[in-house]
Symmetry: C2
Subunit: 247 residues, 2 copies
Amino acid sequence: MTAGNLTPGQLEQALRDIGARRYHNLHPFHRLLHDGRLTREQVQAWALNRYYYQSRIPAKDANLLARLPTPELRRTWRTRLVDHDGDGTGEGGIERWLHLTAALGLDRDYVVSTAGILPATRFAVDAYVHFVRDRPLLEAVASSLTELFAPTIIAERMSGMLANYDFIDRAGLAYFEARLTQAPADADFALSYVLENATTPERQQAVLAALRFKCQVLWAQLDALHFAYVEPGLIPPDAFVPAIGRS
Amino acid sequence: MTAGNLTPGQLEQALRDIGARRYHNLHPFHRLLHDGRLTREQVQAWALNRYYYQSRIPAKDANLLARLPTPELRRTWRTRLVDHDGDGTGEGGIERWLHLTAALGLDRDYVVSTAGILPATRFAVDAYVHFVRDRPLLEAVASSLTELFAPTIIAERMSGMLANYDFIDRAGLAYFEARLTQAPADADFALSYVLENATTPERQQAVLAALRFKCQVLWAQLDALHFAYVEPGLIPPDAFVPAIGRS
């Protein structure tokens, strides 16, 4: 814990340090996924569960947008809704994610129903949506700052998955391709907002805690996938059961 | 899914069937715990995390009580607050739980801080508190019906832990001793309420779903403990790290 006031540069460094130690690219499941050491069924389980996260991002962003005080701030944040939900002329991130689950052989209606996701996925994702709705606006914005660390993981994800899984092609990874430009723009704005508004030691500690919380949300999702589908492989009641031998 | 209207007897049976297939006494971690196959450190991790669940039960019950319409119903539900928080002349369940964590050698302030719990524990427990706050009252009451299944697990827990762990004595299990009489009384009331008020197929399906949800809340907590402290043993950042070699 840092007790005194940080300069904007120090605060940014403290935020980046959280990513360096807690972002989910450090999770063993991430390594297995991108080094090509998972079966098609295990990748299905990941994409199926991650769909729930994708599907709730617009709810998270709408909760945040509702609390922004000016048209300028709301317009900027609104681009996130367009990015995920599309705008009629182009499809959004959720639809792109469904390309990936389709490429993996998952039934669209089953994915959209979220009937087969792990309860732990639902609890973690809902915790994020509730955090953004219920905590002070500054903390809500800060919790989005995992996007600072996204470009690295996305680039690693795309190259690793293309190289290692013959059941995934570049079209299936359109979601990530779009995020390579969207995430940095979103992160730049959120970081500027946080650095401008976290002007007391209390606020600075709160934004650091918000980012740690968000890292926990992402990490816990990989914990649950690893537990159910890798080791020890204990799938909870009702969750997705891979079709054995289809790999 | 049952589509038609159930008699009260059929609905009760359907509720009990959920317990028979989804209650957390079926989880591998429960077996390890009560068959004496865990180390003292693993039992510490369980008690530490379970403290967070205990500590939030009065918040859950206060959310529910706030929505009950009559003094009679609120008086009945209020006994749960007394059971957990005490009444000045006698200690409550939360204090009794702290006897257990103390008997296990955990620092009281550390336990109460909840700084070392697994994020997945927090997400699951908070999901329960939010469910009771946000869902229709009938579903909120139904989600408490896991207490129908509690006497079995408590009896098994007490005898198993006393027989298998020399670091736990009967005084440390005072929480469970009290629950042996409290849980059935609570469950009887909640079951009567549910059977009287779940009078349409839609409501009946909703109460069954609420009980399944609650079973997921309990199950997910043992999943997270098993993953972090048994197999594969991947403890998330900041969570409790057992002192090696103190068993």
